[in-house]
């Protein structure tokens, strides 16, 4: 307990930044991932190819490398300056979007072909078929895998500690330098992560599943 109370400001800063990284990355990843999933099922070959290339290229690159690029490589390109926090959000979003895209695409595959055929039959173009008919149905079937992706994202935020973002992953290094025993420190970090997952993400998942349940 002492480790937590003696270093309260460290835990607060750390988990506050973890929260910021998570909320923004999840938001952007959800938007980008949905767009990419839409590209991959679109009838335009160029868009399909772009979406497929993006997913395969980024999903198969280690997150550490992606963040290293944004923290160490990007500033040398002479583009607008990004804070380390912003750079980490961009990196995490780009990475997580590929997983979101694949989860949503698997949801799209569960929507029966008749749905989009019916949509086309009443004259809806592709964009409307996708956004009005297919995606709403797809989303409710992908709540569990999508939440797995977001839980993974929450834990992935700790990678940013290596690139100058003081979040939960950096707490350990700070505690060690302050001469605090490591095990209680690590246990507190793990415990807070569990609280975040079990206390916030899991209830949210359950709520959405219930709300969007389909009678089959």
């Amino acid at each position: 307990m002492n480790v937590l109370t003696d270093n309260a400001e460290l835990f607060l800063t750390g988990f506050k930044n973890t929260g910021i990284l998570f909320v923004f990355s999840a938001f952007f990843a959800l938007i980008l991932g949905t767009i990419v999933a839409g590209m991959r099922v679109s009838p335009v070959p160029a868009m399909q190819a772009t979406g497929t290339f993006y997913v395969n290229a980024v999903r198969n690159t280690p997150l550490t490398l992606i963040l290293a690029f944004f923290a160490l490589g990007y500033p040398q390109l002479g583009l607008p300056d990004l804070s380390f926090m912003a750079a980490a959000i961009v990196g995490l979003s780009l990475y997580t979007a590929t997983y979101v895209s694949e989860a949503i695409r698997s949801g799209i595959n569960t929507v029966s072909v008749g749905q989009s055929e019916a949509a086309r039959a009443i004259g809806l173009p592709f964009m409307q078929t996708l956004t009005l008919i297919v995606l709403p149905q797809a989303f409710r079937s992908v709540v569990p895998p999508l939440f797995s992706v977001f839980i993974a994202l929450l834990k992935n935020t700790t990678v940013a500690a290596g690139f100058s973002v003081l979040e939960a992953g950096a707490i350990r290094a700070y505690l060690s330098e302050r001469g605090e025993p490591l095990l209680p420190g690590l246990l507190w970090v793990a415990l807070i992560f569990m609280v975040l997952v079990l206390g916030i993400l899991t209830p949210l998942q359950r709520y959405l599943e219930k709300k969007w349940r389909v009678a089959r």
Binding site: L72, P75, F163, S164, Y174, L175, S176, E177, R178, G179
Partner: protein, 301 residues
Amino acid sequence: MKKFFSKKSLGVAAVFTAAALALSGCGGDTGGGSTEGGGEAGLTYEVAKDVALTGSPTFDAIKSSGKIRIGVKEDQPGLGYLDAATGERSGFDIEIARWMAASLGVPADKIEFKPIPSANRETALANGDVDLYVGTYSITDKRKKLVDFAGPYFITGQGLLVAKDNTDIKSEKDLAGKKVCSATGSTPIQNIRENFPEATPVEYDLYSKCVENLKTGQVDAVTTDQAILLGYASQDPDNLKVVGEPFTVEKYGIGLPLGDTALRTFLNTTLTDGNATWTKIYDATLGASGTKVEQPAVDQY
């Protein structure tokens, strides 16, 4: 085919057995008293024989295994450095480690150096992954609760490394609005966060990444113990320089498992009695920059 393999492996086994026999015989011959080679600086240490040290579990483990495992840094030129090309370790800390091993009766070729990053030092010592830790390990009261320290064997303080052509930063008073880099969570970066709120802290897991960023102009200064910075500056004097005076006090100690008082007393005695050796080590490593430093007195707390 199968037969061929079994024959071959038999042959290999025979060779290994012979080698093992030869080695053990050899070990018996040079049981003590021989002088083993040190680092590239040509330093050698008398390997003690029949070391009388009772009541030290760490020493007992070293004695029964015949080798010693020492935790070190390997990205700090002049202190603890591993030349990736040659596999050669060099630096002040490395030499201190070799000296201490020799005083415990372990020749240089029986030292197993293990790179342990700063954040894992206490754990490595507590878990018995290493017997000793010699790598810019500052003695602090809080750490004394987790590990024991022999020494100090060196005293330094937080300093600043900047690019050679930098004229803005002359001391720690000029840090406002500057990007200052150090290792993640390290004492120097915590000091910057707390006492220099106008500076922007930048953290990477390794000091070498900070130095790289300094050379490309992404950070304005690198801060950590001045001894470490002098090492970097001496490696690349055309691009880097150390400015100002140390503005904290750091005492480097030899980390050892908590409660091993017998070993600590033994190492402290070695450091105190071996003043001439200490001076030789300093002159051959950090002292290459031309500075002369007196060995600090050990603190038998």
